[in-house]
């Protein structure tokens, strides 16, 4: 019983790191631009399919595919920003949300049309097998995925804190008018933010493809999971995202292990609702 629980918690923590990486994307988009990208989960689904296509065509391993999908999603993010997001910045909130909801439906529909709604998976990754820590089994593929996620989260934290572009992003987030006066081109900064946030899903997508399949409705789940992580962590705290990701991952994993796998979102929903009620700023929120 305890052993199963610990085993389940380990799996949950490892999954949680990927959720944290996905949530980091919406966190910087929402935090810097105050724009809600409802389609973020579908970006993950889309990049998973992209990984599948490239992995099959080039006979690459799933973990390699972000080398190509990262730039593709960066460009995709730029296109989406200039085509849609840029025009909705000054609109009513509902209209802004509606535009990204439209984007979400569009991406899911495209996946339905192109891949006929069938789940797709890549061949086995070369990272496979498992190893033992203190008598508990750890899947190597998930461990590597969690490790790569953490590395990229750290890289983004460095980028945000130590580079000029990152400083511009943080400045635009704090006070847009003052930042503009200081010579920050807010459109370029926003475009970069949105593209970077989107491109992070490419890494998550590649990592996820190394041990699971993708299907068009999966985007809804990833979207909800990552918003839940963000709600739990609060805006503006990158270490908070890691802790929140772990909590959400554990909750989901325990639900699947001990109750019914069909209701895997129920535990996450319970956390989400409780956080909204009790701690609307999240556990580590800066603003």
């Amino acid at each position: 019983m305890t052993e199963t629980a610990i085993q389940s918690i380990i799996t949950g923590v490892l999954m949680g790191m990927i959720y944290a990486l996905i949530a980091l994307g919406i966190s910087i988009i929402f935090g810097v631009m105050n724009v809600v990208n409802f389609a973020h989960g579908d970006f993950v689904m889309f990049s998973m399919y992209l990984s599948y296509v490239l992995g099959t065509a080039l006979v690459w391993d799933a973990v390699q595919t972000p080398l190509l999908t990262f730039p593709i999603l960066l460009i995709f993010g730029l296109i989406v920003y200039y085509l849609i997001i840029d025009r909705t910045l000054r609109q009513l909130y509902v209209v802004q949300l509606a535009a990204t909801v439209g984007l979400q439906i569009m991406m899911r529909a495209a996946a339905l049309v192109i891949w006929r709604g069938q789940p797709r998976a890549l061949q086995y990754s070369f990272i496979q097998g498992n190893f033992e820590i203190f008598g508990f089994q750890v899947l190597t593929s998930r461990f590597v995925a969690a490790l790569i996620s953490l590395i990229f989260i750290a890289a983004i934290a460095y980028f945000m804190n130590k580079t000029w572009a990152g400083a511009a992003m943080r400045a635009a987030s704090d006070d847009l008018d003052a930042a503009t006066l200081m010579g920050v081109n807010y459109r370029r900064t926003y475009a970069l933010t949105f593209a970077l946030g989107s491109a992070l899903t490419a890494i998550a997508g590649g990592l996820l493809m190394s041990f699971q399949q993708t299907d068009p409705v999966g985007g809804i789940r990833f979207g909800f999971l990552s918003w839940c992580v963000l709600a739990l962590a609060g805006l503006g705290s990158i270490p908070g995202l890691i802790v929140a990701g772990a909590i959400v991952g554990i909750a989901e994993s325990l639900q699947v292990t001990f109750f019914n796998p069909q209701g895997r979102l129920l535990a996450v929903y319970a956390i989400f609702i409780l956080v909204l009620w009790l701690k609307p700023r999240g556990l580590f929120g800066r603003k």
């Binding site: 049309v113 809804i220 009620w277």
Partner: protein
């Protein structure tokens, strides 16, 4: 002051539309497919008009319509299967239940100032949560369909609300639509309506002026969920079975699209959008289903829907209703009526 005439051009237009709608089944009696299509259009128009109260007026992007529809359908259907209670009563119990659930969730959500994206997320998650719950709850739902009973006497039964033609369903939906329109219109020009509209623009300013925004939003949510639950009761009877797939994210999204494309805060907007978009969807389904096997077709019309939603959000955020209104005024000045 000029007294408004009872038979002004606006009222004439409304009466004419109503008369056409009432007479429609007489012409289509033999074409069940078109009748079904018309019923579906009305069903979505009712849902979108109810959404208009919380989404269009109060500016809360509620993505949970299917949760209330599903609850209504399951309550009505289960009461009929288990206790032999007529859907005419059951649908009101289902609507009350849907309203109760919405209120239970709404009080803390609005009380703790959950708004904007968080409200949209929690309402869209509600649909998924209910689907998962009913999937696992084998006594009421479960993965197999539950069929509603047919009457022993014949194919038609008013008691069971089961008919071998879509005409009665059409009239039920038409009646619901008229009721929702009246509710919409009454709210629009009441204190609640003005508060809701202001709320949609700037919530903090409204609070400063002494309006209890929480109560207003809660009222809007209650009306909306009640109507959606009512529609759900009839929805189950039209399809003749119950299944957790009634809690469908696509349906909730479609309601929102109709509400926004039709024009937020405009009473007749959702009906116009429903007539155009739902018929278009059915047309695609009828004409192209051979070319796109599997779920490809579903994707195709969703794609068109999404494109329309994005284009409207970017270039015509007030929806298509103002365009129609302008056209109507032009027509009036052209004919020479004042």
């Amino acid at each position: 002051m000029k007294q408004p005439k009872l038979l002004n051009s606006r009222n004439i237009a409304i009466l004419a539309a109503l008369a056409i709608a009432i007479a429609l089944p007489l012409f289509l009696r033999n074409n069940q497919y078109v009748l079904f299509l018309a019923t579906t259009v009305l069903l979505y128009a009712v849902l979108a008009s109810a959404w208009n109260i919380i989404g269009g007026m109060a500016g809360q992007l509620d993505l949970g319509a299917a949760a209330y529809v599903g609850l209504g359908a399951f309550t009505t259907g289960t009461l009929l299967i288990r206790f032999d209670l007529t859907p005419w009563v059951g649908m009101f119990i289902g609507a009350l239940l849907a309203m109760g659930v919405a209120t239970l969730i709404g009080i803390p959500l609005f009380g703790f100032k959950v708004k904007e994206v968080w409200y949209a997320l929690s309402s869209s998650a509600l649909v998924e949560v209910f689907r998962a719950t009913f999937m696992m709850w084998n006594k009421v739902g479960g993965p197999t369909e539950r069929y509603l009973p047919f009457s022993a006497e014949g194919p038609r039964s008013w008691y069971l609300m089961r008919f071998n033609t879509y005409v009665p369903y059409f009239y039920i939906m038409l009646a619901l639509l008229v009721i929702v329109f009246i509710i919409n219109q009454r709210i629009r020009y009441s204190k609640l309506g003005y508060s809701l509209l202001a709320l949609g623009e700037d919530e903090d300013a409204v609070e400063v002026l002494g309006v209890d925004s929480r109560l207003c939003k809660l009222k809007a949510l209650m009306i909306y969920s009640f109507v959606a639950g009512l529609v759900g009761g009839v929805y189950g009877c039209i399809y003749g079975y119950l299944h957790p797939s009634f809690f469908s994210t696509d349906m909730s999204l479609e309601v929102v699209i109709l509400g926004i494309v039709g024009g937020m805060g405009v009473t007749y907007g959702p009906l116009l959008a429903a007539i155009f978009l739902v018929s278009f969807r059915e047309y695609l389904r009828a004409s192209l289903s051979g070319m796109f096997p599997g779920k490809g077709l579903e994707g195709l019309y969703l794609m068109v829907y999404a494109l329309i939603l994005i284009v409207v959000a970017l270039f015509q955020p007030r929806g298509i209703a103002p365009l129609i209104k302008r056209g109507f005024l032009k027509l009036k000045s052209f004919v020479g009526v004042k």
